[in-house]
Symmetry: D2
Subunit: 286 residues, 4 copies
């Protein structure tokens, strides 16, 4: 919640001594003021994770040259890393089917300044939500899906996403299996909301499954999409209490609150560069 322009470094590497010292020395040498710094060491795999954010006001390396200047340190520690700037907002495409609650929620939070990103387009396999997109002045694209044309549609979607330079795809109750090509292109950059507390109730109709099992709590899970259904790295989960009085229809209704909260939370974490993927898990520097 600030108007400062900042740089954010997200990195992971094999854990060893001196990483923090070297990075903070780098920032300090060029007159950067560190605003946030989080780190985590995974003992099992001996992996070190870091998110460090500094104020660019007074930083003596111009933005365009920071990456190159940092490169030697990254190489020394064999880091996986990315450099982000708070001034460069991520460009988002939202995929929907007919359910409007997650779409409205994302658009309203965006309008309220809660999600600092550009929502560039809405894609749907149905026409129903065109009016919603238009109310918020976001271009709407309709791609009807037929079994035959599936590959062809995916090609068009990929082209569209490329044209709009999309950084993040949000499946806001999209209800379709996304093709391999899209999944690969947006690896760790495509967020889905699943309406159960994963790994319970994978697949179709999780509220029906929950009702049938007689659980006392339902949940929702937001995760990056991988090629295995509902198995991707979990970003955020939340739950709500239910009772024997709740019908499946009640679960669907209560679940909508969860879906909205969990999806928007995950999106917010992602666009603020607070999520690092690690195997099939996430490190979330919240």
């Amino acid at each position: 919640m600030s108007n400062r322009e900042t740089a954010i470094l997200l990195l992971s590497c094999r854990d060893r001594k001196g990483i923090v010292a070297e990075i903070s020395h780098f920032i300090s040498t060029y007159e950067g003021n560190i605003l946030h710094s989080d780190q985590h060491s995974d003992e099992e795999s001996q992996t070190f994770f870091m998110r460090i954010e500094w104020d660019l006001a007074g930083f003596t390396i111009p933005k365009a040259r920071i990456a190159a200047a940092f490169e030697p340190i990254a190489q020394k520690f064999k880091m996986s890393w990315q450099l982000e700037f708070s001034s460069r907002q991520k460009r988002i495409a939202i995929f929907v089917s007919r359910f409007d609650h997650c779409l409205y929620d994302l658009l309203l939070r965006h309008a309220a300044g809660e999600l600092t990103a550009e929502i560039r387009l809405v894609v749907s396999n149905h026409e129903e939500l065109r009016g919603v997109a238009e109310y918020f002045r976001v271009p709407f694209f309709h791609f009807p899906i037929s079994k035959k044309a599936k590959a062809e549609v995916e090609e068009k979607e990929l082209a569209l996403l490329a044209e709009y330079q999309i950084d993040l795809v949000i499946l806001a109750r999209y209800m379709q299996i996304v093709g391999e090509g899209l999944v690969e292109r947006y690896r760790n950059r495509m967020i889905n909301i699943h309406h159960s507390f994963l790994p319970a109730f994978v697949g179709a109709k999780p509220y029906h499954q929950a009702h049938s099992r007689g659980v006392k709590i339902i949940g929702a899970t937001s995760h990056y999409v991988t090629s295995e259904l509902d198995q991707g790295p979990i970003i955020e989960q939340d739950v709500a209490r239910i009772t024997h009085r709740d019908s499946v229809a009640d679960l669907i209704l209560k679940g909508r609150n969860l879906e909205k909260l969990v999806l928007s939370k995950a999106v917010k974490l992602h666009i603020e560069d607070k999520v690092l993927v690690f195997g099939n898990k996430t490190v979330v520097f919240d």
Copy 2:
């Protein structure tokens, strides 16, 4: 939370008109004052459930004859039913292995007057917790388990439970599969605590499973024991938030709080006659 002596009627039957009227008329006719009344209709199966509790002060049928007096109504509606009295405390046996946290929790809540029941004995396959039972002045029985003697041990346990007229068996992190004979004898009267948010992470080492899947929330589940592992009717569940910083050891530690709360809550609901089993689900009149 009261010292009044009350009668509690728990029942289910096919839903039709007039059930509530007939039952409340019965109580009213004999000068009973209804203190609590809960009902539920399961629309799918057209089943009616009820828990009704009334003050016995001034009730004109003596306790010993209430059941017989109610019988005609029960037959008319083909009810499954049971009649309980608040003055007749349930007799409990607690089964444990080596973990002491759930045992302490139950014994302390009992000592504090939170659980209105008699804890008659503690059974264990190890000696470790004898001291705990003795501190609280509860008889402790040690039944070492070997693969060979399994059936024989179960026989002895059944005899012991019969001798002590046990109404409810609590598996307080017992860590053993209970034999069919015991399961059958204590059908809907044997409560287990499973250290996951069922149906996620059935079986062994659920905290390891949760850590490996990278969930952001862990849970605990209390359920009646059936012959299928971790598949019995769920009575109560609760959850706690975790992060990537939590090791398996941290999950075990955080989970202990959940296990204690969830198990004691389920036991309290059961001994206050607030749980009705219905297929593989429960109706909890809380």
Copy 3:
């Protein structure tokens, strides 16, 4: 969650024997099937509360004559009571200032079928939210407020509410003290959302107060409006965890989620006739 037409009786009276029997006998005699029944006895004040709902299909008294038929029972027990019908939706006016999140939330939940009521009009002291009301096709009325004209404006508002036969007024972050006349006319029928966990942080700028006190949890409270500021009967509350990292701006943002959930929950409880006011407290039959 059902399409059945039902009658709902909400009542309170001095506790004594036979109330439930008499009411259920009344319903049963005229062939009504009781769908839900909840009761509560307040021991301190010896007051009995009940909500009973029955299916009107097959009920042999016509709707228009049920009240008269029930009157003798009501008189016998000296009940405060009201009779509602699920088919008669409550007519709602929403008062707002400039914040749009609660207004959007109510209108979207209404559009999604979550709130079974008629949202008849939006009243505001500003023009900003006219577009929102119009998008949802709800008439919007602008009453600018000046210190001088306060009484006059209230007169106009009362006339408007009367004209539209409004049953329930929702102050959806209205940010204005409502006049005595309105408060009196809508006693127990005007719901406010206060952005703190009452009774903590009464009055202005509760998020600033919370930040300054250094609490670790913030809340929101929905209550009926009385003439004493933030002192009315509480219907619903909820909370969210915060940390030292959260600025006042963050609290405002996190609080918006709470405000939406708590206000819509309270409204839903009210329009489903599940709230009974009792002194300065509520009995909520959820």
Copy 4:
């Protein structure tokens, strides 16, 4: 959750560039491996807070000389700071009256290895809990309190705490106002549990106050003790949902779960050196 010996530096100072770099350089120069590092900048007051923990294995400065070696950096930035070692467990005195649930909870968590500290003694103004302390083999001291002898008793208590070299005093539902001398001596080292969601329901009988106000959620608050009643810096809070059915006795019962969880959580945070006091607030590096 580790057996490594570590050093922990807790500090605050005026925010400026280069602090993190200088500290991490110091640790790195002497071959320390940073395990955890948390920082926070309070924008309002321009204050910087940090907690940094490193592995002492291989650190080339002997423990006894680390403080002296760090002193120049501390002076340069005018830091308030403290250096702790994981191997040096804090020595705790627990003050109780007659309620045993918090005492049991602390002693059991300690026995289970959850609280890494030495519980050196239990102090009470009553005799009731002597048996509990003795069961856990902790010395028990009885100081009857009379209005006359208050100052004298406090003198004795101070002497006792000095003799046992107590680092942390826990008021585990002590139910007595602690004297100024004790408060001063244990400034930011004396933790109380208050049985309400502060700042709601300050002072006596908070559950009665909560019942009377008709809140839907109750809470508990753990805070450092200051001379103003219930006004000290809050370390941890938690809440539980209640309904109109809950009597004051029920609130007391539900509240006990909260009190135990919140107090033990606050104690754990303190003994792991994760709390920094800042004015009347805390920074909790969890």
